[in-house]
Assembly symmetry: C2
Homo-oligomer: 328 residues x 2
């Protein structure tokens, strides 16, 4: 096929990957209250690990969650995760304590937001206990958390996973840079946004920024640009995946975590860490994120079909495809 | 070749296009004084038509310029245009008057700028006279100017060009919306940036914005996103071309005009207004713009080779290419 960007039969049906390897996901499982120009919510289920796990569950049924909630967290929401094949043995429920709560308000352009409330609650003294049944995990996704806890998880695994992906944010660059750099040094893939890449490197050019950040340890760097797509850097290679121009962008909350979940989910499902396969993982992650923003919170991620996902992935190819010109 | 986005032999050597049709370019030819985080200039040659003509001159040697300058405009700069094969018969030189002058300062992120000085001078009462020798032009590029003058040029052409491309900016949306809408109605391709598309349509979603703007008359809409690439809309089709991640971005001045010049230059050279060819024109325009920002003003556009341009175009394909997966 001419002008093919990636195959249209590109599929992620979990059953079609006998290779599927177990994926350990750590991060926050929390309550969010969100306000966008299009509406607002009361407390709804959120948190990095929630979005990551749900997104990954469409690629592999071997997602193992490590997180902590209070006894205010609804059993029904835990059931929802289990119904998606997510192992919640590592989800600690602290009696008499409250779950992590974040409340934010997005500006009209949706590219910037204001944090209204952050209540750490159970996250304040989170001790990430890894159940023995999780020790065989081959892939590790470190969702946004304190870099100390992220590092602790790596140290508590008897065998180093085949690939460790870390998501973080500017907040840790501001208050815990040394801890952050120690953890970054231990991972294979770092996922941050363009502003954070510029802050972490002190470089405006994302090419220069990527070079400096890759020198900190990671073999791969993902720079997320929200509605402008995502870049994947490896050595001197660069891959760019656009974001799909959408009819409706409703709520960006969790889009980055959903991207990360789709990304690592595809890798765990295919058990292939080549640069070419990481490119496909970026496309799959972008497709998953494009669903996430269409509704509030996790709503759009609860009932996706493989057909919907495949159709979305195909649109990424169509968006950049140019047919071959006949030789002059 | 697998995963080919567009052909690597993709070339724009003017001589390789016997089809090459004449291109009429109208816009400002002016002095700019620019300040970026990386340095500042005194008065240097600038103006929309200057960037458009120079960029187009790498695709076709049939560029015919209509513009106005004062007697303060250096003969040497006019010679530079002529040396690039640009016909300056339509460049009026007003004795005793001064050329249009713009001075601006870019903020650290380079995505926003502040206008320090705008002296219309000769542009204040510009009467765009079309030399008879220009009447045969098959393509028309309306560089950013008052919509009244842009419309006047269309009206003064005996035969309507095969394709009319119009570039404009938010300034005219603010002070001359009705005039602007009248002119937009008469063109085939409108080129604006994402902010302007949102302002003109009142829609946040670029998909919805494009639908509304295409309903105003143009068959094609280009939405420029600066360092984030460009979108081409036609009916229900969308094409996205990324911007190349660059080592050094030095001065964005004229990047949009250079993009437009490369875009229309490729179309005039190939004499093909199909959607597929317009996609290639967007890639070529993006490649030309990627050179423009590497130095101050027009400097980087003065001595490009076809090899450099081809190499840059190839990089756009490499950036989004994903190899085919073997069927499972």
């Amino acid at each position: 096929m001419l002008g093919r960007v990636y195959p249209s039969h590109f599929t992620f049906s979990p059953t079609s990957f006998p290779a599927s390897m177990s994926l350990l996901v750590i991060g926050s499982v929390a309550f969010d209250a969100i306000e966008t120009p299009f509406g607002k919510t009361d407390k709804i289920i959120g948190g990095a690990a929630t979005f990551v796990s749900l997104a990954a569950s469409y690629s592999t049924k071997q997602v193992k969650l490590v997180a902590v909630v209070g006894d205010d967290f609804p059993q029904s929401d835990i059931l929802t995760l289990q119904e998606h094949g997510i192992d919640t043995e590592g989800l600690q429920i602290k009696q008499g304590e409250k779950s992590f709560f974040w409340s934010g308000k997005y500006n009209t352009d949706l590219n910037s937001r204001e944090t209204l409330v952050t209540e750490l609650n159970v996250l304040a003294d989170f001790d990430p206990i890894i159940p023995d049944a999780y020790q065989d995990c081959k892939y590790l996704m470190l969702g946004n958390l304190t870099p100390q806890i992220q590092r602790l998880v790596i140290q508590r695994l008897v065998n180093r996973p085949k690939l460790i992906v870390m998501d973080t944010m500017n907040f840790w660059m501001d208050i815990a840079l040394d801890e952050l750099l120690q953890t970054i040094q231990m991972v294979d893939v770092l996922s941050i946004n363009d502003e954070e890449a510029r802050q972490l490197s002190g470089e405006y050019s994302l090419v220069k920024a990527a070079r400096k950040i890759l020198a900190l340890g990671p073999k791969f760097l993902i720079i997320k640009k929200g509605e402008h797509g995502a870049l994947l850097f490896h050595k001197k290679q660069i891959f760019f995946c656009p974001a799909l121009p959408l009819e409706d962008v409703f709520d960006p909350t969790g889009a980055g975590d959903t991207f990360a979940g789709g990304f690592i989910g595809h890798i765990a499902a295919t058990d292939d860490i080549s640069f070419e396969n990481l490119k496909r993982a970026v496309i799959h992650g972008s497709a998953m994120a494009s669903f996430c923003v269409e509704k509030f919170g996790t709503e759009r991620l609860l009932n996706l079909t493989q057909e919907e996902i495949q159709e979305r992935e195909k649109q990424f190819g169509d968006l950049v495809r140019v047919e071959e010109v006949l030789a002059q």
